[in-house]
């Protein structure tokens, strides 16, 4: 007995490792940005796990999109505040 399905934390690390070739092909200055993007998915591991998707990539991408959406809306609000007379 024991766990058959790895926890999303482990699954996500496995998924990130599978994108190593993608990272390898990036210019040097983009590598850190790529790592940072993948890391942002780890901020929502519990939510991705709760979503129970058959593809771990889906949960991970949804987390990244959601994180970037939050940053975008906050940035937009900040810009609006700056631009306000």
């Amino acid at each position: 007995m024991g766990r058959t399905v790895p926890s999303f934390r482990i699954a996500e690390a496995q998924e990130a490792a599978e994108w190593r070739s993608f990272k390898k092909a990036l210019p040097k200055e983009d590598k850190a940005a790529f790592d940072e993007m993948l890391s942002s998915a780890r901020l929502y591991v519990s939510a991705s796990s709760a979503a129970v998707r058959t593809s771990r990539f889906e949960g991970m991408v949804m987390a990244i999109i959601f994180h970037h959406y939050k940053i975008l809306t906050r940035t937009a609000a900040a810009v609006r505040r700056e631009a306000a007379p």
């Binding site: 007995m1 024991g2 766990r3 058959t4 399905v5 926890s7 999303f8 940072e36 890391s39 942002s40 780890r42 901020l43 929502y44 591991v45 519990s46 796990s49 709760a50 129970v52 998707r53 058959t54």
Partner: protein
Amino acid sequence: MRGWILDLYPDGPGEMVVWLKQDDGEAVRLVDSWSPSIFIGTDNRSNFTVPTYTLCDELAWTRLVQRRERVTDNTAAEVLEVKLRDAKRIQQVASRIERLGPFGMFRLYNADVPPAQSYLYEKDLFPLARCEVERRGDTLEWTLEDDVWTYDYPIPPLRKVELKVEVAKSGKLPRLTDRIESVVLTNAEGTTIIDDRNEADTLLALARAVREADPDLILTNDGDTFLFPYLIRKAKAVGVIADFILGRDDAVMKLPLRAGTSYFSYGQIHYKPSAIKLRGRVHIDTNSSLVYSEAGFEGLFELSRTCRMPLHTASRASIGRALSSLQLYYASKIGLLIPWKPTLAERLKDRSELLTADRGGFIFEPRVGIYEGVGELDFSALYPNIMYRKNISAETVRCACCPDSNNRVPELGWNVCRKKGVVPLAIEVIVKKRLRYKELRDAEADKGVRERYNARQAALKWLGVTTFGYLGFSNAKFGRIDAHIAVCAWDRKILIDAARIAENKGFEVIHGIIDSLWVRKGGAEEVDFLGLKEAIETGTGFATSFEGVYKWVAFLPSKVDAGLPVLNRYFGAYRNGDLKVRGVEARRHDTPEAFRECQMGVLKVLARADSVAEAKASIPKCIKIFLGYARALERHETPASDLAFTSNLSKAPGEYTTMTVQQAARKQLVAEGASLHAGEGVRYVITDYKGKDSKRTIPLDMVDDQTRYDAGRYIRLLAETCSSVLEPFDGRCTSEGLMSLYERDMSLPLTNLSASQP
């Protein structure tokens, strides 16, 4: 005759020896004519004749009885009860029966229950139970005057002796061939040192001294691994083994037939030496007794009574084994047989169901940073309570008899049986007694009594924690992964419900893990948190404890990626000044004592601060502590024993291929003749971190006055340790920052440090 059950074990064929500690302090040996039974199930009744005739030399008698074969069976089936002649041959007889037919022809039950435990289950007794006993022919008739459920039970005054042996070492480590230098016996009356020049006389004098002191408990440190094997070998070598008797029985002391075992548990290899038992006295090896180290004598007595395991066994048993014993007792009470080789398989699930089901408890990722005014609420013994109150057991989850039960597993919708399962039945005593002990402890004014209740509840706490793991453990007699899954599903629902309740009351969830929530709300006082506690209890139906409000609490980021949170790595100070520290070096078992002291010293200074700003202002004081410890290291004033790291061998010493610091220590120990096994702990001091050979470290046991540790390496590691708790308050307090401060101020007296602090 009245007294307390002190020890019991099978002796000659058909004999169970029970030592009764009487009111006058004397221990009396009683012999009961008894032997255990094995039960055999088969699909064809005529098969029963095969073991009955083939093994007639081993069997006292056989009979057909009705018992529940499998935990999932609702009705009893006809099985053959086989009463053995000799309890000590139970495993051999079971193996012979199994081989009498093709695999599966004979299903064997109760074959691996230790005979002493079977006796206790059958007679409804337990160790240290107050009883009246009467002899009726060859048998004993017991009347129990005690109850496992009692909270204030009298323990007879037990005579204790501590036994130590000094070895005249011929090398750097003591060896089994070395001479005995002296034997030291310590009891309430004082210390006796036996240091006869003749080893045979020393051994005989020891046996005499033990006989005269007549202790009930003999305490040793490493008695199973070194002390007793050493003394037994010596007694054999000098020809006095026949008179070297330390037990109350006249039995000759023997080395165990089996070597110790290495086993894997929760990601770590552990080593368990074979036990050396003294008949009629209880040998407690403090080095290999988890329950004794966690909860002392009171915890050991509570565990032994509750789980119905002899004190010898309970003192060495893993908590899982103790829990198994408790479950086996309750199984025997409801006529359920105990499978020798459990075959209860996981129920088939499709992919979607498996993905939904196979998840752990819920976690709200911590929000990295330092916060003020955060309150902590913990669910009390959540997993044991889920199992008990939601009736989670191997046979109850998705039972065949109650498909329309209202008790459903969240998210999965699985039905749970209406009949009480064997796990909830066994766990009731743990849940209820622990709660009561905590209440008694909190209401008690007398310190000694309070400590007694606390030790007892601590022993029960470990049992509760293990119950959940055992539901999903492949070797558990009554485990099934579906039950384990059901508990996690309930946990997720409860924690998410609790967080929603908190949010609806205006609180922000800072962190949540399995059974604990950290929440805050601007201006919230204790009364607000208590209101939240009540709302969560009403909403979820499970009791919580309010741990307090933090003056400040730091949730730490990953050491690899500073932007990411790490679970269960935090520290904070409650408003009453108490510290709570998790996941940092001071909490790790492998951290050297000097590092633990230094980090805790820093944390205590921070704990005096009432706010984050005040904590930041106290950083110079904290740095002074770091520099004080660093200078002591530089001057080699810190004792090497306070700098020992501990690591467990993950494999046998010969299997290592690279010369890590740990391997360097192992290699030296093996060269000195030490016998190491996977799972054993090795303590070592770093002597030359950058060196390439086995002199990089030295095992702690080989440290002497000439040993010079690698002060530079230790100071660097100390800087990392202090940085773990200082950097969250001041970004300049990285390990490099602390190192440069140390290097800059090395030549200054400590009083002039303030000028160089960040």
